[in-house]
């Protein structure tokens, strides 16, 4: 079992002929993901790598190839429209990898997607992987393995680091979700925690947060109130100075809120096992399985 993506995922890649889109489409196909279509306006009728049919629009990809999920690799300035297009085509899972998407664009796209009953992951995220089943996005497949741990994270390479440590220690994953580091994202920690709690194959959850905002504090309250499965947590940015944006648009301590100590205290209060460093994930997770 897994959350959000599995063997039944039929993926359309928006921007399949671009530099990033083509590279990662090959990686996703090699991993075993069912990529049923690509979209590049003007290249409809062609095939990607002589196999995957390319369409001019997402609507055609849904109607003719039966796509039920989309992944977006288009340049940032076109990303919001790509999200609208996928939602209009009736796609229920939209994963936006593109980074640098203006936040005001997302304030318009997000409520639209929600009203259409679709799930958006990202933008500015590494996507998801259900090891052994499907990969949607850019998480390297070789560092993951099937197993009982659910992983949700705001980061990219830090997720890889934690997953790598888990896999090396023999702790595989049901699904790893990179929700993205932007201030406005489609799927948040709570959405993932809820899904992991409901997934019978997931026995423990690792949650990787960072400074900025209150998403982790809200997630901690959710864990305390609603979750029976053990949760292990990490907060990046314990040494970050206030008022400076640490790379991610969302990673900024404003005033006295959004600090690492504040978030770690919220985790502890909710009974979440707090990692002091990434390597702690192995011991804290193993002892709770």
């Amino acid at each position: 079992m897994s959350i959000f993506i599995d063997r039944g995922t039929r993926l359309v890649v928006q921007g399949i002929t671009g530099r990033d889109g083509s590279f990662h489409s090959r990686q996703m196909i090699a991993y075993g993901t069912t990529v049923v279509a690509g979209v590049t306006p003007g290249k409809g009728g062609q095939r990607f790598d002589d196999t995957v049919p390319i369409f001019n629009t997402v609507a055609e990809a849904v109607a003719q190839a039966g796509a039920n999920a989309s992944v977006i690799y288009v340049p940032a300035r076109f990303a919001a429209d790509a999200v609208f297009e996928a939602a209009d085509a009736g796609v229920k899972l939209i994963v936006c990898i593109s980074e640098g998407v203006p936040v005001l664009d997302m304030t318009r796209a997000y409520p639209y997607v929600k009203e259409k009953g679709a799930r958006l992951v990202g933008p500015n995220c590494p996507g998801l992987i259900s090891p052994g089943q499907a990969k949607v996005g850019i998480i390297p497949g070789q560092i993951c393995a099937p197993g009982p741990v659910g992983v949700v994270s705001r980061s990219g390479t830090l997720t890889y680091e934690v997953v790598y440590q888990l896999t090396r220690a023999g702790l595989g994953q049901t699904t790893c979700v990179g929700i993205g580091g932007d201030p406005i994202i489609g799927t948040d920690f709570i959405d993932c925690l809820e899904a992991f709690e409901a997934d019978p194959a997931t026995k423990a959850v690792v949650m990787i947060g960072e400074i900025g905002g209150t998403d982790e504090q809200n997630a901690a309250e959710y864990v305390k109130a609603k979750m029976k499965k053990p949760v292990v947590g990490f907060i990046a940015g314990q040494t970050a100075p206030p008022g400076r944006r640490m790379g991610h648009a969302g990673a900024i301590i404003s005033g006295s809120s959004g600090t690492a100590p504040e978030k770690m205290a919220a985790f502890e209060k909710a009974g979440i096992a707090v990692m002091k460093r990434p390597a702690d994930v192995v011991e804290l997770t193993r002892t709770r399985l």
Partner: protein, 381 residues
């Protein structure tokens, strides 16, 4: 990107919001000329990207043009929170009947723009939020429709019972929202918004923060960037598409990815060291970026050891290794380098480094421990 007060005022003025007259000056003489033109009492304000200007002595009143020249001389060149003041705004000292706060931000929690207004103006809104939260009134904006007229009026009545003042304020809020959207801002605030003794409402001070992701499609806004008001190393990094933030420690860090970069700094601290910087080389593979990263880090005299922590995904480890080798050929690094590489093309990277007598580790904790020990002048474990 932060705009200066004088730039934010200009955007508000163009949006039709009443702002006091006034002009920017870079020398005491210019300040005097502006004060002469305005006539009467003026306020001279440091234009610098730091809060707490008033407390730092960066805002002063002057009764005459000569006095304006004198206080401008005191403020120009002053350092506030590590930044040198290069410009001052000279504006008439307004007669104030009341001070309010009005602002709009992109709010993470409600995933939309949110207006906040408060009758407790003139001071830091976060302080108001912490001490007297009942003094803040909010309205969530659906970005697809913008600030609705009834929302604007509702907020305005929260500030003023007088219908004349409320209508003027509602008009200002609508225009502020338009300026916020047109600038691609993540924050636009007027603090204080003042009422004058004759019943007018004007914006006295304002702050606009632009979403960096908007700059590509808004060249006029991008042109407002004042490079002279920023840390030169951070400017150099941005031009190379790196994110660099200088800190006070002695372990220089080069990492791919913001989350891993923060976690690496934290681990340096965990093992008893102090990070000298945050540096994210980003996702793409480009040896030149690594060279620039090493240039920036070696220019910091506090750095005693340099730590690379690369988890290859999109970033290829061999590209990073090539960058390190190129940099060490081009200039003297002069500090020990500890390299941790794992992931895409790790084997090739190890070969490249071995060719020049360098070694690479695969474990993050081990690499951090060695870098901390070297920075302290001890021997690598």
């Amino acid at each position: 990107m932060n705009l200066h007060e004088y730039q934010a005022r200009e955007l508000l003025r163009r949006a039709g919001i009443p702002v006091s007259s006034g002009d920017v000056a870079t020398t005491p003489k210019e300040a005097k000329a502006v004060a002469e033109r305005l006539g009467g009492r003026v306020v001279v304000k440091a234009q610098v990207h730091a809060g707490g200007r008033g407390k730092a002595g960066g805002v002063k009143l002057a009764d005459t043009p000569e006095q304006a020249e004198k206080v401008a001389g005191q403020i120009l060149g002053m350092r506030i929170k590590g930044l040198t003041v290069q410009k001052v705004l000279v504006a008439p000292a307004a007669e104030i009947a009341s001070e309010s706060y009005v602002g709009v931000i992109v709010d993470r929690a409600s995933q939309s723009p949110v207006f906040m207004v408060s009758p407790a103006g003139g001071i830091d809104i976060e302080e108001v939020a912490a001490k007297t939260p009942e003094q803040i009134f909010r309205a969530r904006v659906d970005a697809r429709y913008g600030l609705l007229p009834h929302q604007a009026l509702g907020l305005a009545f929260a500030l003023f019972a007088d219908v004349n003042l409320a209508r003027q304020t509602a008009d200002i809020l609508q225009k502020l929202y338009r300026a916020f959207v047109d600038a691609g801002a993540s924050l636009a605030e007027i603090n204080p918004l003042v009422t004058t003794p004759n019943g007018g409402v004007i914006a006295l001070d304002s702050k606009i923060v632009v979403d960096d992701n908007e700059l590509e499609r808004r060249s006029a806004i991008a042109a407002l960037r004042d490079v002279s008001a920023e840390n030169p190393a951070e400017v150099q990094a941005r031009e190379a598409n790196l994110t660099y933030i200088k800190l006070d420690g002695n372990v220089g860090c080069v990492v791919n990815g913001a989350g891993l970069a923060m976690a690496t700094m934290d681990l340096v601290k965990y093992y008893g060291g102090e990070p000298a910087n945050f540096l994210d080389i980003g996702g793409s593979s480009n040896p030149d970026k690594v060279v620039t990263a090493l240039q920036i880090i070696t220019a910091d005299p506090n750095v005693h050891a340099i730590l690379f922590n690369i988890f290859g995904g999109i970033t290829r480890c061999d590209d990073v290794a090539n960058g390190i080798v190129t940099a060490t050929r081009r200039f003297k690094v002069g500090r020990p380098i500890v390299i941790r590489l794992t992931g895409t093309n790790e084997k090739e990277a190890v070969e490249i480094l071995r060719g020049v007598g360098m070694a690479a580790l695969t474990d993050m904790d081990e690499a951090v421990k060695q870098a901390v020990a070297l920075a302290k002048g001890g021997k690598a474990a």
